[in-house]
């Protein structure tokens, strides 16, 4: 299982790297306003860019390897008489983020991402008596992990409406979100439900864009190196590969389609604070790590005569292969409003 922060950073960068072309395409009326487009390849604005992003992820399906299993199948597999066993039945993870982008010069840009998270989970528990109960966990919300990134345009053939561009990125995910929230019984809430990871994680990125206007294609590779948190938990490292195509339908609309591949390694709970293997499917690092493929259609709208644009994305899984038993993503929505100043 991935921490929400990891998923979020990747999806945001995909948006950023693939969305900044819309303002510079095609016939542009009396004159071609390029405010809000990019000079370095990933710039949201000449001076400062701000985005507000809402993301909503639903997780219901449980898989063993790539096969779907029901919550009751998992309970019956692991419950033993005299003890209890819990599995998640429904998870809703939401995130509202403020993103600032500031170009430093024609090649460098810095980004800051400040997320607020809200996580909800329903569970089914089989009690020692053999009785099964459905329950809703307390909502977890708060500031997530702030990420700072530097993006460097290693090559571009033009400052705007480039046909070839190579961008490199390096970032740090900081441990600003809480990672030690406990439930009413005094135990740590599941690691992936915590607002933060508690670790300083480096992030590396490479992006190559090739355009045959009005068609733009892009490959992104992102590697998230997870480190051990102050509570001894270490999420699995994550590698993302994205193949993206965008097509300009009109001056103000882009349609996009992406294929996303995600590989995540197993988590490690060095101090055992989050692990309850005998009683919970979620609190078990054997049930972490996965390989997933998604398709992501998107639509982007440039708000006329402004530096603003709106993008909607819907991500659907096409193949998921998990280690052990895991609840997986069934769908993910994302809406982003960006403004260039």
């Amino acid at each position: 299982m991935l921490h929400y922060n990891n998923k979020y950073i990747v999806l945001f960068l995909i948006t950023l790297l693939s969305s900044s072309q819309v303002n510079a395409l095609g016939e542009c009326g009396l004159s071609c306003c390029i405010g809000g487009t990019n000079t370095s390849g990933v710039t949201l604005s000449e001076n400062f860019g701000l985005s507000v992003q809402y993301e909503r992820m639903n997780m219901k399906t449980i898989r063993r390897d790539s096969q779907e299993v029901s919550p009751d199948d998992v309970i019956n597999q692991f419950w033993s008489s005299g003890s209890s066993y819990a599995v998640p039945t429904d998870m809703l993870m939401e995130k509202l983020s403020l993103i600032g982008a500031k170009p430093l010069n024609e090649r460098w840009q810095i980004l800051g991402i400040v997320p607020l998270v809200r996580n909800n989970m329903d569970m089914r528990r089989k009690m020692p008596s053999g009785m099964t109960m459905n329950m809703t966990m307390d909502e977890i919300s708060g500031l997530g992990d702030i990420t700072l990134m530097g993006l460097y345009t290693a090559y571009t053939d033009a400052p705007i409406r480039a046909k070839k561009r190579l961008t490199l990125g390096f970032g740090i995910k900081t441990p600003t979100g809480e990672n030690d929230i406990r439930n009413p019984m005094g135990n740590y809430v599941h690691a992936m439900m915590q607002p933060g990871t508690g670790s300083w994680d480096p992030i590396f990125m490479l992006s190559y864009m090739r355009a045959w206007y009005p068609l733009i294609t892009q490959i992104n590779i992102l590697y998230h190196l997870s480190t051990e948190s102050d509570q001894g938990y270490q999420f699995g490292n994550q590698l993302n590969l994205d193949l993206i195509a965008r097509y300009q339908v009109s001056n103000y609309f882009n349609l996009g389609l992406a294929v996303n591949a995600i590989y995540a390694g197993n988590d490690r709970d060095h101090d055992g604070l989050y692990s309850q293997e005998a009683t919970s499917m979620v609190d078990n690092t054997n049930n972490t790590g996965l390989r997933s493929y998604f398709v992501t259609p998107s639509v982007q709208y440039k708000i006329p005569n402004t530096g603003g644009n709106l993008e909607l994305k819907y991500q659907l899984p096409v193949y998921q292969n998990v280690h052990g038993y895991q609840q997986v993503t069934d769908s993910r929505w994302m809406a982003t409003l960006s403004w260039a100043y």
Binding site: L30, S31, P103, I110, A158, K164
Partner: protein, 159 residues
Amino acid sequence: MGLLRYGVFVLLCITSAITYAQGSTATIKLEDYKGRPVSINHVPYKLSVVHFWATWCSPCLRELPQLVKTETKLKELGLGVIYVATDNRDDVQNYLHEQDLGINALLDQYGKAMRHYKIKVLPSSVFINADGNILETHHGPIDWEGQAMRNKLQTLLSR
């Protein structure tokens, strides 16, 4: 959190230093579409127009022949135009070959000149006097053969 504050402080210092260094840059060195290096800060004209354009920008292409004609007419009075393309080399080369405008075009590959002159619209024209001072930046197309612009150029050239 102490370490985080320190990290943010260091980042702000680096940002400020880079921004300051960028603001104090005096010379813009670009290449022309044939790969020859050119500096656009020191030009030997009484009045220079640094003109930003692109082959994908229709208003730019409508304006460009007019500007070339104007430059030809007023060259002897001291007008010089520096054509800065915010475009890739192949497209610029093909366009200039097809149109046979007889101009050289510089390539602003990484947007250095655009940032320096704060260009946010194409086409744009920056008027610079012989001392290298920016007199005016015009965002959007210009009717170069219109009476108003002709008068303006005459005035600037007669200073």
